[in-house]
């Protein structure tokens, strides 16, 4: 994006904002001003992001003086006293909880978005989509409280024992039902990202050209078939984008996860086990961290989070374009 924009601007003079020049000059000058402003704004965003990364890197320098980057990423000690720092449990917890959130939320969100846009009577649709959007307005600390008061006890007494009995042969559902842990944090995140995924997916579904639906229907498709033949193919890139947007939100979520994940530096394949996450460790320890290496380790956690989201975004963009293209050639 930035590149193509730069190409458009090739040859444009360096921008100096002089509003009166648009009044007197013709359309060309107005266009140039417009592009110029956009260019400056776009550049500004990049600068801010760059400065944040730079700042994090600077703050984390004392850590990397005593600890290699790779050792930090794959280490699982975390001891400010002996100055041993490893972020693996946090990275793992962040990834696992976010993944649980996406796996749970996306199917539900697709179903809701389909119902709202395709199946619900037209007058009813707003009554369904509005409450979902309200979910987005709830502060995350309130989600955390809900998790503590409702979700964790429910998981401990009902869901986890049930999963253990029914699916205990899977490593994900082994171990004592504690309530706090990856599952609690992941499910809470699922509810938190639901509105994003639902509303973005629904918007994309709404843009399905009526002609495509009619094409299916005129061939004798049922309503459901018309959806799977037109709405879903049309929306799959958008749904993927929506899911990745949700994933991005889940990765960075701090408060609710901190309250529910158990804050135990632990790496376990079982979702019932307590764990930790990158944002949670930063939030929990930053106030107490006094020496530069400890602060540096926390900044490095931030940096890793940044890198993960950055990679995710890159992957997202690549995936969305790949899916959008659809089959150039189809094997039958």
């Amino acid at each position: 994006m930035a590149e193509s924009r730069a190409n458009v601007l090739d040859g444009a003079p360096p921008m100096v904002e002089r509003p009166q020049s648009t009044d007197t000059a013709g359309e060309g000058a107005g266009d140039r001003l417009y592009y110029g402003v956009l260019w400056v704004l776009g550049f500004f965003v990049l600068v801010v992001a760059g400065l944040i990364v730079l700042n994090l890197a600077l703050v984390s320098r004392p850590l990397f003086a005593v600890e290699g980057v790779w050792d930090f990423v794959k280490g699982d000690d975390w001891d400010p006293v002996t100055q041993k720092f490893g972020a693996l449990p946090f990275i793992y917890g962040t990834l696992v909880t976010s993944l649980v959130a996406v796996v749970v939320a996306v199917p539900v969100a697709i179903g809701l978005a389909l119902f709202i846009t395709q199946f619900a009577p037209h007058k009813l649709a707003p009554f369904l989509s509005t409450p979902v959007e309200w979910l987005a307005a709830i502060p995350s600390v309130v989600y955390g409280l809900w998790g503590l008061a409702v979700l964790v006890p429910w998981l401990r007494t009902s869901v986890e024992p049930f999963l253990g009995r029914a699916f205990g042969f899977l490593p994900f559902f082994k171990g004592p039902p504690i309530g706090f842990g990856y599952l609690a944090a992941g499910l809470c995140l699922a509810v938190m990202i639901l509105p994003t995924v639902v509303s973005v997916s629904a918007e994309v579904m709404k843009t399905t050209p009526e002609a495509q639906r009619e094409a299916a229907l005129a061939l004798g498709a049922t309503t459901w078939e018309s959806v799977t033949w037109s709405v879903m193919p049309h929306s799959r890139a958008g749904i993927l984008g929506a899911s990745l947007l949700g994933l991005g939100r889940a990765l960075g979520e701090t408060m609710a996860v901190t309250m529910l994940i158990g804050n135990s530096r632990n790496i376990s394949i079982s979702l019932f086990a307590p764990g930790y996450s990158l944002p949670a460790v930063i939030a929990n320890e930053f106030a107490e961290a006094t020496d530069n290496i400890h602060i540096g380790a926390l900044a490095a956690c931030g940096l890793i989070l940044f890198v993960i989201t950055f990679l995710l975004n890159a992957a997202a963009r690549w995936l969305v374009t790949a899916v959008q293209k659809g089959p150039a050639r189809v094997v039958t």
Binding site: H122, P209, E210, A211, Q212, R213, E214, A215, A216, L217, A218, L219, G220, A221, T222, E225, W229, S230, P233, H234, G326, P327, A328, R329, V330, V331, T332
Partner: protein, 271 residues
């Protein structure tokens, strides 16, 4: 649904306007269509005999597409649309509860005014779509080839059946949609300006196709081209501002119209 069109004798349909010798394949009685307050089709009644071609003509916006879409209940999907009156296919009213619009649309196929292939699917899959949707098994490749040949598209696409349908030109896409509609062999074929995006050669092929199809199908075609209407149709219906002004044998409509407005239109005085 009810039995197929077995009642129609093979004799030529009556040419005299309005005279019916058997149950018409399609009969429209006092059809009205509204879009919210816009009365788009007004009190229209007409009949189409089996194995004939009816051309629907009229100025832009007069309700031709709206009329056509009422014949396979495509308005069911438009929330603001309201339809009253009867549309009988083989004597059975489509707008009653017992009729399943899904089964109906398999019998009354449609080619839309703007080409609408499935964009994520290949050429071949597009043509076979109706077969898959209706669970028709058998040799799909054969049906695909036959349908594409009928739609005068086979030679252009036979080497790239696996390519995306959207890689075709607009006119090719339109012929693809014709092939797609033909693949499920509907009894009645509704065509909304099927040739508007085609060059003269492809248009001629489509018109030839319509002549061939007439032997097995009943066709209602909307067209803006008087010449085309004259060439392909047995009867012509002239719509003006939502009303059916006049319907009759095509020759009569073009040479000896009863209504002043029809005459003005076919002689190019307006529209």
């Amino acid at each position: 649904m009810n039995a197929l069109a077995s009642s129609a004798p093979d004799s030529a349909p009556a040419v005299a306007a309005g005279a019916a010798i058997a149950t018409p394949k399609v009969e429209v009685q006092k059809l009205n269509v509204w879009f919210a307050k816009n009365h788009a089709v007004k009190d229209t009644s007409l009949a189409v005999q089996v194995h004939t071609v009816l051309a629907v003509i009229g100025p832009s916006g007069c309700g031709k597409s709206t009329f056509l879409r009422a014949l396979n209940r495509m308005h069911d999907l438009v929330p603001v649309a309201r339809v009253t009156g009867k549309v009988l296919v083989d004597g059975q009213d489509l707008y009653t509860r017992e009729v399943d619009p899904v089964l109906l649309r398999r019998r009354v196929g449609m080619v839309f005014q703007r080409p609408n292939p499935f964009p994520t699917m290949s050429i071949e899959e597009n043509v076979a779509a109706g077969l898959v949707l209706n669970g028709i098994s058998g040799n799909h490749a054969e049906v695909v080839e036959r349908s594409l040949r009928k739609a005068a598209l086979w030679d252009e696409v036979k080497d790239r059946l696996g390519h995306a349908a959207t890689s075709l030109s607009g006119g090719q896409q339109q012929r693809l949609c014709i092939a797609r509609a033909l693949a499920i062999e509907p009894e009645v074929l509704l065509m909304d300006e099927p040739a508007s995006a085609l060059d003269p050669i492809a248009t001629a092929k489509i018109e030839e196709l319509i002549h061939e199809l007439k032997e097995h199908y009943t066709i209602i075609i909307v067209t803006h081209s008087m010449q085309q209407a004259a060439r392909v149709s047995d009867h012509t219906a002239f719509f003006y501002m939502g009303e059916l002004v006049e319907m009759g044998a095509t020759e009569q409509i073009f040479t000896n119209p009863k209504e002043r407005r029809t005459e003005d239109y076919v002689t190019g005085k307006f529209g």
